[in-house]
């Protein structure tokens, strides 16, 4: 990357970080509160009655999934709302007229999403420490999956914003698609509990692999293969990136 592009990249990141930091009460605190409530209700109150899940305390089983859920949702919504706001208020033109290649626009926006996703993940981890045993079984897998999950869903949020024509369009996907996939991706249960048919259906959910590999990073237990998880991440990343590049080449969301 040449020096000018590096400065442009830093500028997009600075804009993004400034944007979500300015409204930190809306962007950083709610996931901490929500996750704290999950720990109190599902971890301590109901979790004590559930007992063990895959051989560990329920609250410890649930903890990695809750952290990753916050990372995924925050990464996605950060990029989707930031890019759509820029389109809505027309300041996307600042970037559209500047000499910045498409790949750098994508990289800048998703880096903003990754930063917020990982920051929220860290804050939620601080909450989790008060309720669960947060000792890491494998730091490498925990950190890598948190990073890849935020990367993938920032990219997905970017694509969503390019298509979006109104604010409903950037809330429909997280509400009607992302949240169900996360909840059905094994945040609260092991898929081994499911009947064979639903276990097979669950394996078509890419979030299952992310959540299980992340859980492996914390408690060393997973329902899925680590290799397959990373392969799925790679395939999804390439597919989403190519999709985003193609959209920008056709001016989607940027040009008339």
């Amino acid at each position: 990357m040449n020096h000018s592009l590096l400065i442009a990249f830093q500028t997009i990141i600075r804009k993004e970080v400034t944007r979500f930091s300015r409204v930190w009460l809306q962007t950083l605190i709610p996931p901490m509160v929500t996750t704290g409530l999950y720990f109190i209700i599902f971890g301590n109150l109901i979790g004590n009655k559930i007992g063990l899940m895959s051989g560990v305390d329920y609250v410890n089983f649930m903890m990695p999934g809750l952290i990753l859920m916050s990372v995924i949702i925050c990464s996605y919504t950060n990029v989707a709302s930031s890019l759509f706001s820029a389109k809505f208020q027309r300041y996307i033109e600042e970037i559209a007229i500047a000499p910045i290649p498409h790949w750098l626009i994508i990289l800048g926006y998703i880096t903003g999403g990754v930063i917020r996703g990982l920051l929220v993940g860290f804050l939620v981890l601080l909450v989790a420490v008060n309720f669960a045993d947060c000792t890491c079984y494998s730091y490498v897998h925990a950190v890598l999956i948190a990073f890849f999950a935020s990367l993938l869903f920032s990219l997905a949020g970017f694509i969503n914003a390019l298509y979006a024509r109104n604010f409903d369009d950037i809330s429909i996907i997280p509400t009607l698609l992302l949240t169900p996939l996360i909840y059905l991706g094994g945040v609260f249960y092991s898929i081994n509990l499911l009947p064979p048919f639903w276990e097979s259906v669950s394996k078509a959910n890419p979030l299952l692999y992310l959540i299980n590999t992340f859980r492996y990073g914390f408690i060393g237990i997973t329902d899925t293969s680590l290799v397959i998880s990373y392969e799925i991440i790679a395939v999804w990343f390439i597919a989403l990136y190519l999709w985003a590049i193609l959209l920008l080449r056709h001016g989607k969301g940027f040009k008339i």
Partner: protein, 303 residues
């Protein structure tokens, strides 16, 4: 070298042809006015040049760099002030200007230093740390101008920069633009204020219904008008029956307007003709600027 070359540029929005076969060149260092009534295609043309709108056909070249083949180089030469407010309302003035510099690869320290300089010249430096949503319309426009020039573009495009701006600020902006142009920046200005064109521009392109209907210097365009409206004030009360053959339109007791055809009569002829009928001429004024009247003439004749 031309700052800008447009060759057969066209743009269709569905079945609506917004631009048709637009071709002209803007020499380096020019101050060009782009005129046309609402919907003539001026803003669409500008948006094509800066890469915000995809053209349907034709070629755009900025300082010899084809916008399709070398978009990064072409874009780096251009600065734009849009017609609409297109900045983050929650950013401060300084953030808006400095961030734009960053997008063009200007290092942060240089950007801050330049931003301070431009904001100072444009007299909004004291509002640098305020969120842009708290600025008045004129201040927003000045900030947008500072943002457009922060990377020191060779070609500056202004889309109705001074609309809604008070006269004092307008003069400040004019001085700023004259200085930029004197230092070598090519400027293309869209405006509905024709006195702005007369004061600032060397040449004018007139668009109508998506087509170029005239390109010439301001002086030549003014000369093209042979017939225009003048307002005459006389020392005695106007008596219409004495001026029936002149097809006058009475404005007040002592003044009236008529169409003067320079092909048939001069000002002196007119004054003599009025004197013969007992009217001493106190003043003769052109009803509007000749450029404005020429522009209206083109519009009225659907050219």
């Amino acid at each position: 070298m031309s700052a800008l070359d447009l060759v057969n540029v066209c743009k269709n929005f569905g079945s609506n042809q917004a631009l048709s076969d637009v071709s002209f060149s803007v020499p380096d260092g020019e101050f060009l006015g782009l005129l046309g009534h609402n919907g003539a295609g001026k803003s669409t043309l500008i948006e094509i040049i800066v890469g915000l709108v995809e053209k349907s056909c034709g070629m755009v070249s900025v300082f010899g760099h084809d916008l399709d083949k070398e978009p990064m180089i072409a874009k780096s030469c251009i600065g734009l002030v849009s017609q609409d407010y297109n900045f983050n309302q929650f950013d401060t003035v300084m953030q808006v200007v400095v961030n734009q510099a960053g997008l063009y690869g200007i290092p942060y320290k240089t950007a801050v230093s330049r931003a301070k300089e431009y904001l100072e010249i444009l007299q909004i430096a004291e509002r640098s740390n305020e969120q842009t949503r708290f600025l008045s319309g004129g201040m927003k426009k000045r900030m947008m101008l500072a943002r457009a020039v922060i990377h020191q573009p060779k070609l500056l495009i202004l889309d109705e920069l001074t609309s809604g701006v008070d006269i004092e600020v307008r003069y400040l902006i004019w001085d700023f633009l004259r200085e930029l142009n004197r230092k070598g920046t090519t400027i293309i200005m869209i405006t509905h204020y024709l006195e702005e064109i007369e004061n600032l521009c060397n040449n004018v392109v007139i668009l109508n219904r998506g087509r170029v209907v005239d390109i010439d210097s301001v002086e030549n365009l003014q000369k093209k008008l042979v017939s225009f409206d003048v307002v005459i004030t006389v020392s005695e009360p106007v008596e219409p029956e004495l001026l029936q053959d002149l097809d006058i339109n009475i404005i007040s007791e002592y003044s009236f307007e008529l169409k003067l055809d320079l092909g048939k009569a001069t000002y002196t002829d007119l004054i003599q003709k009025l004197a013969q009928r007992g009217f001493r001429v106190v003043s003769i004024k052109e009803k509007a600027s000749r450029l404005e009247q020429y522009f209206m003439y083109l519009r009225d004749h659907h050219l």
